[in-house]
């Protein structure tokens, strides 16, 4: 029995019965008893509210009101202390009632012994403790629920604010573009002599206005891109492609922009470059951003050079854009790729408008698993370089894992999933499917086309179970088909080949990956 002193309250209208109970209790070995007796319900309630009673014995037959009423009123007040009901001979039928009303136990008076009391006190106290725990848990759960709701509410609020901010950027960019259109076109009409002949000087000045209008509209594009990058809405379509195709695609733009800055671009493109794995449009954007910056830097200081070389040791291709401009002070190089950086000191007067372009370039290079850097000497010029991985699956996947470990704290597992469609479909349908898969995986995940009709998905997740992610793609697939009544996407079969923990399972993952992908270079689509 407990060594702690125990205050026991007996509620009984019969003085003799109460005395008998006290004696029996005192005979329990090791008990340190503080016994109180009250004869009525009213006094019992008063005693329970006042004194530190640990346990109550309640007689079923009380002069005014029954023990049952007292029990109910105790429990109704939220009192969880142990209560044992005592009944007279012949009152056994009330047992169920008293237990239901909240008694922990019941004993027949005439059968009470110290041992029975000991056992009853022990179970009743244990039950009471259990009740208290349950009550506490209930309270904690309730509190958790409330906190959870508050969290959800504030997270919804944040999401809404985020959404509003992005919509704001969208709207503002639209509002900017309309007046810019009018400014640009009327200037251009006058510039082109459609409103009468111009003097050479007037023509030149309007040319300057037009250049600046183009800068401003490029800045608006940049703002939109940043907004999309932040929201994760910037879709990536990485695939196997040729460097020559990427450059060919942006060649006209590069030349036009060079001409408007009165400079020329010298392109050094070896013809034995390996295929690369990237989103060609994004890489094109990076080249444009870097060359346009270079044009700005090198006014009257010679050509801009774009060179590309293979770096087989690192399984990558390096793009470098060199200008012979003012150069960047070493102190400024560090945060050059951060948003809204301005170059300090002397160089600042020479070059402005550095901000968004380089930040976007950095983000786009990272999306393509590459790195960006700059080497610069004040007074001699700068070289901005960035890397793009070659299309060698084993090297690529090693690079990918390294990235995931370094930048994706939320990713604990990596899964390999194949997506397969019927081999007889047309190649346009395959392209649609690939685009769809790319759109519906997270932008940090990878898709390789291993056969004309089979794709290998590398998905990272914070959970071992990726069924939810696949189900989401399946649902999106069905939804997409609702909007494509004419040419629905064909049925696709996803097959999870395995899931590995990023901490220790990557060796097996790479082995499985190589088995699925084949050891050779990925081929061009």
């Amino acid at each position: 029995m407990t060594a702690e002193p125990m205050t026991i309250l007996a509620v009984d209208d019969d003085q003799g019965d109460a005395e008998l109970l006290r004696r029996n209790l005192e005979q329990i070995p090791g008990i340190d008893l503080d016994f109180m007796h009250v004869p009525t319900v009213v006094e019992a309630e008063a005693a329970l509210s006042r004194v530190g009673v640990d346990l109550a014995f309640v007689d079923y037959q009380l002069g005014t009101g029954t023990g049952l009423d007292l029990l109910r009123s105790i429990r109704a007040s939220g009192d969880l202390r142990p209560v044992i009901c005592l009944t007279g001979q012949g009152d056994e039928h009330v047992a169920t009632d008293v237990l239901r009303a909240g008694a922990d136990d019941y004993l027949i008076k005439s059968e009470v012994t110290p041992e029975k009391l000991r056992r009853s006190i022990e179970t009743s106290t244990a039950q009471s403790k259990q009740r208290r725990l349950e009550e506490q848990n209930k309270y904690l759960l309730e509190e958790l629920k409330v906190k959870n709701e508050a969290l959800e509410k504030s997270s919804r609020h944040l999401a809404e604010m985020y959404e509003t901010a992005h919509r704001f950027v969208d709207d503002v960019s639209h509002e900017f573009r309309t007046p810019l259109t009018v400014i640009k076109e009327f200037t251009s009409i006058v510039h082109d002599g459609l409103a009468g002949e111009l003097k050479a000087e007037q023509h030149e000045y309007l040319g300057i206005v037009l250049n600046r209008v183009d800068d401003l509209s490029a800045l608006i594009d940049d703002m939109l891109d940043i907004s999309k990058l932040e929201a994760g809405l910037f879709g990536v379509r990485r695939k196997v492609c040729r460097v020559a195709d990427i450059i060919e695609h942006i060649h006209t733009t590069l030349e036009r922009k060079a001409a408007s800055r009165k400079t020329t671009l010298d392109i050094d493109l070896p013809d034995d470059l390996p295929a690369v794995f990237c989103d060609p449009e994004k890489v094109g954007r990076v080249i444009i951003n870097l060359t346009v910056n270079a044009y700005k830097f090198s006014e009257d200081r010679g050509d801009v050079r774009l060179s590309v070389r293979h770096d087989p040791a690192a399984a990558q291709v390096v793009f470098a854009v060199t200008d012979h401009g003012a150069g960047i002070h070493p102190d400024s190089v560090g945060n050059l790729f951060e948003r809204f950086t301005q170059i300090g000191k002397v160089e600042r007067t020479a070059v402005k408008g550095f901000g968004l372009g380089l930040n976007i370039a950095k983000e786009l290079v990272h999306l393509n698993l590459g790195d960006i850097s700059v080497e610069s000497k004040v007074g001699q010029g700068s070289t901005f370089s960035f890397t793009v991985p070659t299309a060698e699956p084993p090297r690529l996947i090693a690079r990918y894992l390294q990235r995931v470990r370094a930048f994706r704290e939320d990713a604990a597992f990596v899964s390999l999933v194949t997506a397969r469609v019927a081999p007889t479909l047309q190649s346009e349908t395959h392209d649609d499917i690939e685009q769809f898969i790319q759109q519906h995986i997270r932008r940090g995940d990878l898709v390789f086309r291993t056969h004309p009709n089979v794709w290998l998905l590398v998905l990272t997740s914070n959970r071992r179970d990726i069924d939810a992610s696949l189900r989401r793609i399946h649902e999106a697939w069905a939804e997409e088909n609702l909007n494509r009544p004419v040419a629905p996407l064909p049925a696709v079969e996803f097959d999870t080949r395995g899931t590995w923990a990023l901490t220790d399972g990557t060796k097996e993952f790479i082995e499985q990956f190589q088995m699925e992908c084949g050891p050779k270079e990925l081929s061009l689509a």
Binding site: T181, E185, I189, S217
Partner: protein
């Protein structure tokens, strides 16, 4: 075809209409204008332009709806529509709906002229619309 190819410009900004008109007239086009989607549809049916230059955010009927209605009508079902819009996010949707080209505002005059020219040329050559 008429002596001067006819272009219908649908835009609710009168200054953009004016600018496009000056540019296209100088390039030898007959230009007519409409200020909203419904009027655009009416004028398209009435004047049978060779090319329509269409804004997207328009009063009464938006440009994409007008585009769909124009292409749903037998008389104008193969009239090429060049979308000229500040909402670059609508690009793929507009192209899916059958716009021949999608040009961002602010546009480049040369690009606009070549878009109009080549969509007429495709029309003459009978290029199938995707």
């Amino acid at each position: 075809m008429r002596d001067m190819p006819r272009v219908l410009i649908v835009d609710d900004d009168p200054e953009i209409v004016q600018a496009v008109t000056v540019r296209l007239r100088a390039a030898g086009y007959d230009v007519i204008a409409a200020a909203d989607g419904e009027q655009g549809l009416e004028r398209a049916l009435e004047t049978r332009p060779d090319v329509i230059v269409m804004d997207l955010l328009l009063p009464t009927m938006d440009g994409l709806t007008a585009l769909a209605r124009i292409h749903a009508h037998s008389a104008t079902k193969s009239t090429p529509v060049v979308v000229l819009s500040a909402c670059s996010s609508a690009r793929s949707h507009a192209l899916e709906l059958g716009a021949r080209y999608f040009l961002d505002k602010p546009y480049n005059a040369k690009t606009l002229l070549s878009a109009i020219e080549s969509s007429m040329a495709e029309e003459v050559a009978g290029v199938e619309r995707v």
